[in-house]
Amino acid sequence: MTGNQSAADPPPLLEVRNLVKHFPVHTGLLGRKTAVVRAVDGVSFAISAGETLGVVGESGCGKTTLGRAILRLIEPTSGEILVEGADFRAVRGKKLRAMRRHLQIVFQDPFSSLNPRMTIGDAVREGIVIHRLAEGAEADRRVRHLLEEVGLHGEIANRYPHEFSGGQRQRIGIARALAVQPQFIVCDEPVSALDVSVQAQVVNLLLDLQRDRRLAYLFISHDLRVVEQVATRVAVMYLGRVVELATADALYREPLMPYSQALLSAIPVPDPVTRRERIVLSGDVPSPANPPTGCHFHPRCHHPGRDAACARISPPLEEKAPGHWVACIKQPPTTVPWDVQLQHGATNPPSRYLPDLTAIRA
């Protein structure tokens, strides 16, 4: 994740360090900047080839902004983006456009993501044309091949998007991204708008492509079940910050951040005979323009050790177990010493809290 690589290691495919995106809020006379929405507030992680990092969180947590800021479709406020060690934020103009080839995106809304005035062949071909990857009959052949690779007929290239269903459009969107042979794809809620049966088809397609092309995905979703299915590691976001980052296995088995625990327990189990302890959070997600102090989650937190220090200390994302990073000063071990917590009004020492989230057969 953060640094500590020996010089011999090749740099990861994509590394993000302390990425920040603030949106100004203009109010008052002449529209002065009076506040900022901290949509992405210091996010760091790394992804290597063939890996999927899942990003989960509720609406307004900044996951979509994160995806677009990494691709510089929204210019980040600060932070570093390294693509195979090269500084992606430093490039401009022609070099930036050339580099974009390696980083692609697949959108949530299958209706808005394709230009309704453009044939799907032209849509898939666009990247090939921009980067001069092929011309004429060779380009045609590639478009055909790409469409077939995502499970569509090659002959449909001259048809328009409105003739296709949501799932098919999502496949077309994937083919468009693949056309430039990227190494990394941001999948921004790629299956959220689809029906369950179609969802499964698209998830399978993404998994097949990853296996065949050693693609790395940043898989953004609010649906924890889908993320569990596809991700190797998962980052949980809350109000612009990553609050937990772990392998999918560790996260789903033993979530340590109380927010992740609540999120997991809220998933309805598709089985009427199993019941599990449910943590029902009170209240709503606060506004990212005016987040709570300290740990953003503390007003809704159900950790028995929650105390005054939680409202004062901004918890660092720290490694609680190998590869398991959590931002909570009440889950031991923590790098925030007890005397520091005491200074900030702590009353409860850190103690491990792990509600049983495994489904119980009734």
């Binding site: 109010t27 008052g28 006379l29 002449l30």
Partner: protein, 323 residues
């Protein structure tokens, strides 16, 4: 809301600034200079002309002239009317109340009538009544102001002699009338110009109102009310109409310039002593200061009106109040 109002007021000032700048450049891009009207008069000796040029500041650099132009507007000085031989500000002050009277009456009636008609139509969309009313409003909305005003004047004033032909008051009798009769006299003179304006503007309002109502009729919250057992009449007049008024307020702000434009023609046809007629007269007499003064002042009135519309919108829409 206070912040919004301040911002909105600042915008109005910016609009006025832009108008003032535009008029200034129109003035200086024009062939020759503004004194050409006098200059063409051979009886005026050239040294007089030069002294006039100095007096009007036309020998100064452009930037200084621009600054003077702006400060003049801020101080309410719009120069000297060459046709009326007195300051433009005074000339306008005499006629603006007349225009406000005419426009105020016309706008009130146009919006009241248009909203009612549009609501009735929207409530019975595609009925016989709606189709006939739509055909009528569509036609009325396209009538050119001057042509309608001329026709109205021909039929009701010249042929039928129901109402006076022109002016604001009866020039011979007015001063001799009792106060009540004086008011009636003005109303009789207003009737035809107001009618002409109302027919056109009211049709436009009715068309928008109908469309707005139909748009809102398919909103989710109208369906919620339906599913909750709220009667049709209440859904229409309480839920839908209340929301449909919001776009109409916006239309009010946006339609002000064209309403003022319409007033220019109607005032001309009925010889109503208003600011529009003043502008046309000034133009015929090549009184550029008067025309520019009218443009700036009417733009200011329009800006004020649309500010008012925005305030109204803010009052009517709770989302604006603390959003």
């Amino acid at each position: 809301m206070a912040g919004f109002l301040l911002r909105r007021a600042a915008q109005s000032v910016a609009v006025l600034f832009a108008v003032a700048t535009l008029t200034f450049f129109l003035l200086h891009l024009a062939p020759g200079d503004p004194l050409d009207a006098i200059a063409s008069d051979a009886r005026i000796p050239s040294d007089v002309r030069d002294s006039l040029r100095v007096r009007f500041g036309l020998d100064q650099p452009l930037a200084i002239q621009y600054a003077r132009h702006l400060t003049g507007i801020v101080q309410g000085e719009f120069g000297y009317s060459t046709s009326q031989h007195r300051p433009v500000g005074d000339v306008m002050a005499d006629v603006i109340p007349n225009t406000l009277l005419l426009m105020g009456a016309a706008m009130f009636l146009a919006f009241a009538g248009g909203i009612v008609l549009g609501a009735l139509q929207g409530g019975r969309a595609d009925s016989r009544f709606d189709r006939i009313a739509s055909a009528l409003t569509t036609t009325m909305a396209t009538l050119p102001d001057f042509w309608l005003a001329s026709g109205v004047s021909l039929v009701f004033a010249h042929k039928l002699r129901w109402l006076p032909i022109a002016g604001k008051v009866d020039p011979a009798m007015h001063m001799l009338l009792s106060p009540g009769a004086q008011i009636l006299d003005v109303l009789r003179h207003m009737a035809l110009p107001v009618f002409s304006l109302v027919v056109i503007a009211g049709s436009v309002v009715a068309r928008y109102q109908r469309a707005a109502l139909l748009d809102i009729w398919s909103e989710d919250y109208v369906r919620t009310a339906l599913a909750a057992g709220v009667p049709w009449r209440r859904r229409l007049y309480h839920h839908a109409l209340r929301n449909a008024l919001l776009p109409i307020i916006t239309i009010f702000g946006l339609s002000l310039p064209s309403l003022v434009g319409g007033a220019v023609f109607v005032e001309t046809v009925f010889a109503w002593p208003g600011i529009g007629r003043l502008a046309v007269e000034g133009l015929l007499l090549r009184d550029y200061a008067l025309v520019l003064g009218v443009v700036i002042v009417t733009s200011a009135l329009v800006a004020l009106g649309s500010l008012l519309a925005d305030v109204l919108h803010g009052v009517a829409d709770p989302r604006m109040r603390n959003g």
